[in-house]
């Protein structure tokens, strides 16, 4: 479904991704783990067109994404819930979800999808008319995921959905990710919480200073000696 080959991303003189190759198949949850600054966010930003790679190819369902504008990439069926949630704090929960469906013309379908998201995250329903800026961190993360789902993507990119959340909320978010996946969504999940991420994923990649260090079945990565030492606390 998604095929990335030899991707190079630079920020001025900083070489953030050095020939990264990553593959995601239909129906999978693939996780991308690695320390702060490894280049995980850069990879997601390159996929969704927010940064222009200097070299390499990015293919989504056989189509080359390189050089496309972010809004055209959304049209192809890819949705990205960015790092730090980045909800529109100046608007209501409802308006945030509405913007997630910006490209859709089927208002009935949009309404149904909003209902589905409220079933997934009942706390958002209670806060529908509330300003998104007044939500708690966990609720904002739910909104960010819900908003990303509103475009009806086939591939969902999640950047550190557990960041800064209490453990109970983290478990709730991961449970939802599995539910979404069971409903047929393919997910590329970036996480620093390697433990939970490897549990939730089918396959995983370990990124280190811009290169793929390991790539394997999630369960095998979780038992890999080096990975355990570096990312799972021994």
């Amino acid at each position: 479904m998604l095929e990335i080959r030899g991707l190079d991303v630079y920020y001025g003189a900083v070489h953030a991704l050095k020939g990264v190759s990553v593959r995601v198949e239909q129906g999978e949850v693939v996780t991308l783990i690695g320390a702060n600054g490894a280049g995980k966010t850069s990879l997601l930003r390159a996929i969704s067109g927010l940064v222009k790679p200097r070299a390499g190819s990015l293919k989504f369902e056989g189509r080359e994404l390189g050089g496309m504008e972010p809004h055209d990439i959304v049209k192809l069926g890819l949705s990205h819930a960015p790092e730090g949630r980045q909800i529109f704090a100046n608007m209501s929960v409802h308006e945030n979800l509405e913007l997630g469906a910006y490209l859709r013309k089927d208002s009935r379908g949009v309404h149904d999808d909003q209902e589905r998201i409220f079933t997934l995250f009942p706390r958002l329903r209670e806060r529908e008319k509330q300003g998104a800026g007044t939500l708690s961190g966990g609720e904002q993360q739910m909104l960010a995921i819900g908003r990303a789902l509103m475009s009806r993507p086939r591939l969902l990119l999640l950047d550190e959905p557990s960041l800064g959340l209490a453990p109970i909320l983290v478990r709730e978010i991961f449970k939802t990710i599995r539910e979404i996946n069971q409903d047929g969504m393919t997910v590329l999940l970036v996480e620093q919480n390697a433990h939970l991420a490897l549990k939730a994923a089918n396959r995983g990649y370990v990124l280190e200073t811009g290169t793929v260090k390991f790539e394997d079945e999630a369960s095998r990565l979780a038992s890999n000696e080096e990975v355990r030492k570096a990312y799972l606390g021994g």
Partner: protein
């Protein structure tokens, strides 16, 4: 009614009328700032352009000979459309190039503007020679731009300064272009609507003032409705808040930025015609002072904040009118700067501004 009170109310009304004109211009500054964190110094000149387009439309369609409502609507429509197109071109030609990292166009504009300014200030060249002179500046700026871009890697830290200088360049260009095309002599904006003095409970008001106020209020409420309740308006708010996140929603951010320039320019054009109704003398440099004051009004209300621009405009208009009426007309222009200094000292984010966000 007490005569003093009567004068006061009359002055207050004048202040509100001028305030609503400043508010219309300030809206354009604030919308563009909100979305690009850029002070579009050419905005006051778009207002001038709008006044001239209104003038020419009125003559073209003989509205000056047969004043009336339909004719007036036609004049507004033509002028706003032309100014909207100009705003679109300014964004497309100058600011978008900068945003995408190319500075060649910026240098071309700056080069032309410098030559144009020399022309205006010192040389007083006539038609053809001035155009040649400007073209020389364009070429020189372009060559300089390409040369600099070849030899120096794009340095993001300087891009904001470049944007500011480009904005000033566009403004100089429009003022000098205006002098060249429209002529330096003031023109008299025709009466496109019949007007008469009305007596509202002892207060004498010219009907055109009420029209100015009515149209300005209508446009402000229309803008508010569009921004709050339409798909494009919501997209605009999203892009203002976080451009990257907006693009991840599938919002074509460049289109929304264009739309913002078009909308702001249309409001400025409307203000230009309204000024023509209230104070019928227009000239190519008429945008400088009101543009500056409207900018101060936008800062006063909290730049980037739409209701703030309206509030700031009203405060500006009212205080200016009252100072002229009760203190001295010498201070007409000084009051704007006094207000600017005051707000920067007391509340730099502006009256309704919450925080000064930096766009990265």
């Amino acid at each position: 009614m007490d005569a003093h009170l009567q004068t006061f109310i009359q002055q207050l009304l004048n202040g509100v009328v001028w305030g609503s004109i400043y508010a219309l211009i300030a809206l354009g500054y604030t919308m563009v700032y909100g979305i690009l964190r850029l002070i579009n110094f050419a905005h006051g000149d778009v207002y001038m352009f709008g006044a001239f387009m209104g003038y020419y439309a009125a003559r073209l369609f003989h509205v000056d000979q047969r004043p009336g409502v339909m004719g007036t609507i036609l004049v507004f429509a033509c002028s706003m459309a032309a100014a909207g197109l100009l705003g679109f071109l300014i964004e497309r030609g100058a600011y978008r190039e900068l945003r995408k990292g190319s500075r060649t166009v910026a240098y071309m504009i700056i080069g032309t503007a410098i030559f144009a300014a020399f022309n205006g200030a010192a040389l007083h060249l006539a038609g053809g020679a001035a155009v040649l002179f400007g073209a020389a500046g364009f070429v020189a700026g372009g060559i300089g731009g390409v040369f600099l871009e070849r030899n120096k890697r794009h340095a993001p830290s300087t891009s904001r300064l470049t944007a500011l200088i480009t904005a000033i360049g566009v403004s100089l260009l429009m003022e000098n272009g205006g002098l060249l095309v429209f002529g330096a002599d003031p023109k008299f904006f025709p009466q496109i609507l019949p007007s008469r003095e009305l007596n509202l409970g002892g207060i004498m008001v010219n009907s055109s003032l009420l029209i100015v106020l009515g149209v300005a209020l209508f446009l402000m409420f229309a803008l508010r409705f569009l921004v709050m309740h339409t798909r494009a308006g919501k997209a605009m708010r999203a892009v203002s808040f976080n451009r990257d996140a907006a693009s991840l929603m599938g919002i074509p951010t460049d289109h929304i930025i264009s739309l913002t320039f078009v909308g702001g320019s249309m409001l400025a054009a409307a203000a230009g015609i309204l000024v023509g109704l209230a104070n019928p003398k227009i000239d190519p440099l008429m945008g400088i002072m009101p543009g500056l004051k409207a900018f101060v009004a936008a800062v006063l209300g909290g730049i980037g904040n739409i209701p703030g621009a309206v509030l700031g405009g009203l405060i500006m208009g009212i205080s200016e009118t009252l100072v002229v009426a009760y203190v001295s007309s010498t201070y007409r222009d000084a009051i704007a700067f006094a207000l600017l200094i005051l707000i920067l000292l007391v509340r730099p984010a502006g009256l309704l501004g919450t925080h000064v966000a930096e766009k990265v």
